[in-house]
Symmetry: C2
Subunit: 231 residues, 2 copies
């Protein structure tokens, strides 16, 4: 049988793609649903454009800053746990030794089988701490530049996504004439986006495309009905 | 020194709390910013309420379904990788043995030191696969009920968060008289929410509260300025 290298071919989801997907999913959906909802309640497309652009500004900033803080708090969490493991390895090495054995024993290994690894780690406190971070806590060292990149990517994707459903309202004066074009353009964009997203994540493409389209349609439909109902 | 057990005291962020935070962060921020933005552009609070409720419907559905699909695609990703590791352990055991050694060698262990663990894992293919899932790929088995719970938690938190900034507009007929009350109530809610969130994640509480408040204020301020500028 072929012995091709395969380590790199496990898909781990590039962070850039992940951030683009986060921003664009909401960017295509929420302003679309808001515009559709308002079309059922007001006649001037100007109000829809004002509300839509306000929403895009608010959503892109909220999501971008949210992504920034999430990435930064991941990094802080990692630092805190790292200090704690360092302290434990120094101050309570016996307890940490037991934790290493416990990890291996949970995979069916005996105390004797894991003893050489335990002994070797004891001699290398730095490697031991790294080992505990990954194997006990499942944490990986975060990339320091990630928070800012993540924020900008999410915000950019949200703005691009949000301008798609809004563009017909910018060029038409009546909200109801822009409505159908906005629905058509956005459902098409959701389908393409879902398809590309599924391609990147390795999921079935047509199912991914339809899922994304259905979420957008459900959100917009609910917003439309609620706005009609209360207006 | 005291030998207190400490394993459980590592904070890992409960999924429920995480989902509540995701939903409420955006729920408090985006409808707030939208309402503030529209107050700068329209005089009737009715339009603000219609747009706000449409946004809450759209946002809660989009985020809830987004959370559902994210949890489900995590579960699918895990299944795919599990099948792949099973296949590799069966078909190319030598390559997998090298991967196990490589993992340990990256922590400064020699080939001899990790040999007993490698040999023991070879005898237990099931434990070996679990070991690779966690230690090579850093993946943990997802909880099957999580997708639905996650979706409902996020949507609920978004709705609760979104109704806070909107409530003053529901009771006032003029948008500008509701505006100041909405700003006051929401900034207060953002501060409390940020404080509680920081409490749960173990971050400094006052800094967390101020960060959350500032994100909300920035998003709302930008939405307000954009809406005024184009209206």
């Amino acid at each position: 049988m072929p012995q091709t290298p395969h380590i790199e071919s496990h898909f781990t989801g590039g962070e850039f793609i992940r951030d683009m997907v986060i921003g664009m999913s909401d960017g295509l959906t929420v302003p679309f649903a808001l515009a559709a909802g308002l079309s059922g309640a007001v006649s001037s497309s100007h109000v829809v454009v004002v509300a839509g652009l306000a929403e895009i500004a608010a959503g892109s900033i909220a999501m971008g800053l949210g992504g920034f803080l999430a990435a930064r708090s991941d990094a802080e969490h990692y630092e805190q746990e790292l200090l704690r493991e360092k302290r434990e390895v120094e101050q309570t090495p016996e307890a940490e030794v037991r934790e290493v054995s416990d990890i291996f024993r949970s995979y069916g290994l005996t105390a004797e089988e894991c003893q050489p690894v335990v002994d070797a780690l004891r001699k290398k406190p730095k490697a031991w701490v790294d080992f505990m971070m990954r194997f006990e806590l499942g944490l990986e060292e975060p990339d320091p530049g990630r928070a800012l990149r993540s924020a900008l990517t999410i915000a950019f994707a949200y703005i691009v996504g949000g301008l798609v459903p809004l563009s017909p309202y910018i060029f038409a004066s009546q909200a109801d004439s822009a409505f159908l074009l906005s629905v058509a353009v956005t459902l098409f964009a959701l389908f393409i986006f879902g398809f590309v997203k599924a391609r990147f994540t390795g999921a079935p493409t047509v199912r991914g495309a339809l899922q994304t389209l259905i979420i957008g349609a459900l959100a917009a439909g609910a917003a439309y009905l609620i706005a009609r109902w209360i207006s």
